[in-house]
Symmetry: C2
Subunit: 309 residues, 2 copies
């Protein structure tokens, strides 16, 4: 029975896409309830300038609260060395920086070309290492870019190797644009793993075109052990209102458990956490099929058979 780690990113990736600023107390209740349901890692916020993302302004306080929960790995996003210093000060367990594989996207998004990003990654790595904090690099737009279209797989591999040399300890492949398909996930995962091995542990998949869980299956086939997901699929898609962003944590848990994987998460408990988002974000579209359709009858029995097989 393989263990799969689900990393909840709704409190960062989700909330930063929502116009409303979720009150600190609601964030705390959300994090606490997910941890109670068995979620072991949560990306609780982002150390970006509050001017840019007011939704993330209380990240240091959120980290302080999350760190009081036993057995929870508390991670945050950091856009640069300044953010990394703040994350280290706040006492996170892990930090990650997005590194856009599309240089056009990188320049447009953070005004840094690839060499500048690699210098930033080295600076963040030094801060993380000095503070004894785990440091991951998210290879974003790895499956395609809304500006460049297809992104060269060879370039992704080359940049991953360069980021490893700059001090990255772990990688995720990120389908920022919702472009990935299962065949591509398999091939790119294999190519990157061929160079950096199990440092590539994670897939960050979006469900923009409904292919999110299909891409998870492809990732499982290639030995991926961590998947980012967002409760209620929170995280609007920047291209189309009405299309969902992140893959839905609840649906992912259902699929993995039915397949016989161990996530450590109590699905019924997790489904109840949706109530916190419904109350704190009125009018915000919440996604997820399992919440409507319910857990299949005989699921536990089937999962047991699966594990025995």
């Amino acid at each position: 029975m393989t263990d799969i780690l689900i990393s909840e990113v709704g409190t960062r990736d989700g909330l930063q896409s929502v116009d409303a600023v979720m009150p600190l107390e609601a964030k705390k209740a959300w994090i606490k309830a997910e941890a109670d349901a068995g979620v072991r890692e949560i990306e609780v916020g982002s150390f970006v300038p509050p001017k840019l993302l007011p939704q993330m302004a209380d990240t240091a306080e959120v980290v302080a609260f999350a760190k009081t929960i036993p057995n929870l790995t508390v991670v945050t996003l950091v856009p640069n060395a300044k953010g990394a210093e703040n994350a280290a000060k706040a006492g996170v367990d892990g930090m990650s920086i997005p590194f856009s594989m599309s240089e056009t996207h990188s320049v447009n998004n953070v005004r840094k070309d690839h060499p500048a990003m690699l210098r930033e990654i080295r600076a963040v790595a030094d801060i993380a290492k000095g503070a004894g904090i785990h440091f991951a690099v998210g290879l974003s737009t790895a499956f395609g870019c809304t500006m460049e279209g297809a992104v060269s797989e060879e370039q992704v591999v080359r940049l991953a190797v360069a980021a490893a040399e700059a001090g990255a300890q772990e990688f995720s492949l990120s389908d920022t644009t919702g472009y990935a398909d299962p065949q591509q996930v398999r091939r790119l995962t294999r190519k990157v793993k061929a160079e950096v091995g199990d440092m590539l542990s994670t897939l960050h998949l979006h469900n923009t075109r409904g292919l999110g869980l299909a891409n998870v299956v492809a990732g499982l086939d290639e030995g991926i052990t961590t998947f980012d997901a967002s409760l209620c699929g929170l995280g609007g898609c920047p291209f189309a209102p009405g299309a969902s962003g992140n893959i839905v944590t609840e649906d992912l848990v259902l699929m993995l458990q039915a397949m016989g994987y161990n996530t450590g998460i109590d699905l019924e408990k997790l489904l109840k956490v949706r109530k916190i988002l419904e109350n704190a974000l009125p009018g915000e579209p919440l996604y997820g099929f399992t919440a409507d359709a319910g857990v299949p009858l005989g699921m536990e029995q089937r999962a047991q058979l699966e594990r025995a097989a």
Copy 2:
């Protein structure tokens, strides 16, 4: 480059779940437009008593129209020998009967236990053979039942073999309840194929819990070459309003083409067919992610790379 056949079932499975009766002219426009987009097989209706399903009352006329379209395989559902006679009279290319693997479901749904169903299958097979019509059996509730819970895989295999002996020419595994997971799809497909070989050609998957396309990936891995799907995911889920039923034809085409499979379907043309449903079924929830998010930039270029790989 593998050819995958997409069988559109919205005109049957979709419309029979919708309260409104779609006018004959709209059905014709839908079928014509899908065929123009490259869809090669459509399940255009069901020969059930109009008292039970008024939405299907005009099936003979729909068949007559669909048969005028060149290179389109016209299939219908038949619940029993009486329906098979009507289908043969109407001049269909193929007919299929649902055979519920859960005996409880079969008795509740069509008042026939498994031996009675096998007698019915033999009768239908004789009619189809006499008329030179292709005859398929849909192994429904194969992945689980809302009444029985888990359904024995050994029972599914045994009943498939019995149905083959009764004259079935082809099989589909049908996830009637939206219970299937990719691991189960792989295993059950393998087990049934071990006994009946390529007579198992088709998966009929629902997206009730968001796992539909993930299950398609599992089916592709096991050599499945035909997938049923419904435009706009039409076909409400009987368990939860708001949850979708069938997998969405448009999203399936996107995924398969991105993976390098040949479906023969023009996706942009197919997306435009949604307009017919929007107009003919006002207020009906229509599903599908690709319609909102659009086709990825550089998709064709990527698909070409995929096919070359």
